[in-house]
């Protein structure tokens, strides 16, 4: 399991700092703690004397970077800090006044110490208006008992599903992976086909249904209902993974779904994302009836929530005093606005920016940055600040408190055109990665940023859940708002396939990258690699019944 961000490791204190700590302990840190002042936007400064301007002992200058010695508290500027070390033996470590960062004069570089950062952050938290009530620095108080091992139970039944579907294909050398099959269009149902293709290959759902976790016989016995969408999904899985390559007509499933979402029952072209949400809704409703539990969504054990449940955190901060309040909202996907302001990185490093050379390249990371950026709410949206006790200008920031197993990114491509007073489709091309690291968008990362990227960990950060994702499906849209077409691209064993209703074909990854993506499906890395391991064998026996015992493959 990947624990935390594998690209970054916390730096260790340099040996001079380590020596200094051995000799003087935390005396320097503690005496400095009282002089730390926090600005409303979260920076910590060292301020010994409120009124006097800090000046360098050697040149009396007050410009540039000033450092205060950890041992004797004398102040030097960056040009003269070395002199201080030469005059006073053992005074090797200093603190940058403006930024509260450690500086080692012998290494001539900034150094880091988790103990120092702990001191700084605890002072900052103490100083926050409202004390520890404000903001979610709940990392300190929250117990880690809520560790959810979401993938427990989902991966364990792989052995059973392997048994049921493993049969070597003796006819063809190169064969399509398991489960790849076209879906017939039953009358503007490409919105449904595209989402079904993506769901069919979502590893948690695939494992769940293929290991017979929803048995239709037992289901009918238990609930006595004639129509059960889960049974229909189960039947769909059986059909799609049977090994039969002729296109399948999901008529029964469509009929079932119409039953449940009668408001959407028509032959009109509909929105794939709306369909996706509606299917998850129906699955949840049905399963929670069966499980007869009224737990909140976070503990819900229905397959829809086990796969897609995530938690968003929203921090609203008062601009005047810094008091912030936090709320949590569950979600099954993330809807992103297109980021129109991005510069492609090559422009920045090679030459100076000229206004006419800016190219608008939208990327998923740009959209996620936009999503998690602190946004100033307009002055017509003043909120009541508990600390100031009146309406104040505030800023709002979203972050992800808990990541789902399967991450669905929905790109908002519809906007209200004020000019024409109608809905308009945004065709802007969006660049998306095949591997996605969600660490910078986690609540823990956003909160760390607020405190100046200090080194500390939250109790609720668990290393079981991975923040690294691999893409496995893309739903692309082409055409106009009212009359467009959806196709799904699937990534199986590092080969991309295009599922255009009944037509399935192998495609180059270039085609996928160039498509106009509407929904992106990512799964946590370990699940992705595990799922791809099991797709080795293809079943071609004429018998369609998955549950009959077959001769094992050698």
């Amino acid at each position: 399991m990947c624990a935390g961000n594998s690209l970054y490791t916390n730096p260790k204190p340099c040996k001079h700092l380590a020596d200094c700590k051995l000799r003087h302990g935390f005396n320097g840190y503690d005496s400095l703690q009282n002089c730390l002042k926090t600005t409303p936007n979260g920076r910590a400064r060292v301020d010994k004397h409120n009124t006097k301007i800090p000046r360098c002992n050697f040149c009396n200058g007050s410009q540039g970077r000033l450092y205060i010695c950890l041992i004797c508290s004398s102040i030097s500027c960056s040009s003269h800090i070395l002199l201080h070390t030469q005059f006073e033996k053992g005074h090797e470590v200093a603190v940058d006044l403006e930024r509260s960062e450690l500086y080692c004069c012998l290494c001539r570089d900034q150094v880091y110490d988790p103990d120092f950062d702990k001191v700084v952050v605890s002072k900052q938290v103490k100083d926050l208006p409202g004390g520890s009530k404000s903001n979610g620095f709940e990392g300190c108080c929250e117990r880690s008992s809520k560790r959810k091992r979401l993938n427990s139970g989902i991966g364990l039944d792989l052995k059973k599903s392997k048994l049921l579907i493993s049969m070597r294909d003796r006819r063809a050398k190169s064969c399509y992976p398991l489960g790849l099959r076209g879906l017939n269009n039953l009358g503007s149902t490409c919105f449904m086909n595209s989402v079904l293709q993506a769901l069919l290959h979502a590893p948690p759902l695939r494992n769940y249904f293929l290991s017979d976790r929803h048995n239709s016989v037992q289901c009918r016995k238990r609930s006595g209902e004639k129509v059960c969408l889960l049974c229909d999904i189960d039947a769909l899985y059986s059909a799609m993974f049977s090994g039969d390559r002729t296109p399948y007509s999901p008529a029964h499933f469509l009929y079932s779904w119409w039953h449940h979402s009668s408001n959407l029952a028509s032959y009109e072209e509909q929105d794939a994302h709306e369909f996706f949400i509606s299917v998850l809704d129906v699955i949840h409703e049905k399963e929670s009836k069966m499980l007869s539990s009224s737990k909140d969504d976070g503990d819900c054990q229905c397959i829809a929530h086990r796969a897609f449940y995530g938690l968003l955190r929203s921090d609203v901060t008062c601009i005047s005093c810094g008091f912030s309040s936090t709320t949590y909202d569950p979600c099954v996907d993330i809807s992103l606005n297109l980021d129109m302001s991005n510069l492609s990185p090559s422009d920045v490093t090679n030459k100076p920016i000229k206004p006419d050379e800016k190219t608008v390249v939208s990327t998923v990371s740009g959209c996620l940055n936009l999503f998690t950026r602190a946004e100033k709410l307009g002055s017509d949206q003043k909120l009541h600040c508990q600390n100031c006790q009146e309406l104040r200008d505030s800023s709002k920031q979203l972050s992800i408190r808990r990541l789902p197993l399967v991450l669905c990114l929905h790109i908002k491509r519809v906007e209200h055109s004020l000019v024409r007073k109608m809905l308009r489709k945004i065709d802007q091309y969006l660049q998306f990665p095949f591997s996605l690291d969600m660490t910078p968008y986690l609540s823990s990362s956003i909160t760390r940023n607020k405190f100046g990227n200090r080194i500390f960990s939250f109790e609720y950060e668990n290393s079981d859940s991975c923040a690294e994702y691999e893409i496995f499906s893309v739903i692309a849209h082409s055409g106009m708002l009212e009359s467009g077409h959806y196709v799904t691209y699937l990534r199986l064993k590092n080969q991309w396939y295009k599922c255009d209703d009944a037509w399935v074909s192998e495609v180059n990854e270039g085609i996928v990258r160039a498509s106009q993506c509407y929904m992106l499906f990512y799964v946590q890395k370990p699940l992705f690699y595990k799922a791809n391991e099991d797709m080795r064998c293809v079943r071609t026996s004429p018998c369609r019944d998955l549950f009959s015992s077959t001769a094992g493959c050698s």
């Binding site: 600005t39 409303p40 936007n41 009124t51 301007i53 009396n60 007050s62 970077r65 960056s78 500086y103 290494c107 001539r108 570089d109 900034q110 302001s341 510069l343 990185p345 920045v348 490093t349 100076p352 920016i353």
Partner: protein, 111 residues
């Protein structure tokens, strides 16, 4: 005659402070004492983030670190690298706005 007799008097640190502070220093002191400098710094930081200047500097630093190797770069190197580029690439509208605010402050402080 011993050289030590003819040696010019050692410049005294205390005497140096007796020199007249320059206009720049006076303005600086006034800005800090009134707390205006802190406010202006915060405003400047916000503007530089909004216009993408901070991201540009970050990208330049990253590229440099990638080239030199993570363990061969110090804070001083980075400061020397981006200070000239940074000063040159501050957008004109940000400069104009800050100057205007300083002027306004000085006019009110002189009264």
């Amino acid at each position: 005659m011993k050289h030590s007799v003819n040696r010019p008097p050692t410049p005294d640190a205390a005497e140096d402070q007796g020199k007249e502070p320059t206009l720049q220093e006076i303005i600086n002191i006034k800005l800090i004492e009134s707390g205006e400098k802190e406010r202006l710094m915060e405003l400047l930081r916000e503007r530089l983030i909004d216009c993408g200047w901070k991201d540009e500097m970050k990208a330049i630093c990253r590229a440099y670190i990638k080239k030199k190797g993570r363990n061969n770069v110090t804070v001083d190197d980075l400061v020397h690298l981006i200070t000239p580029k940074g000063r040159a690439s501050v957008p004109d509208n940000v400069k104009a706005d800050l100057l205007q605010r300083i002027r306004t402050f000085l006019m009110s402080a002189a009264l």
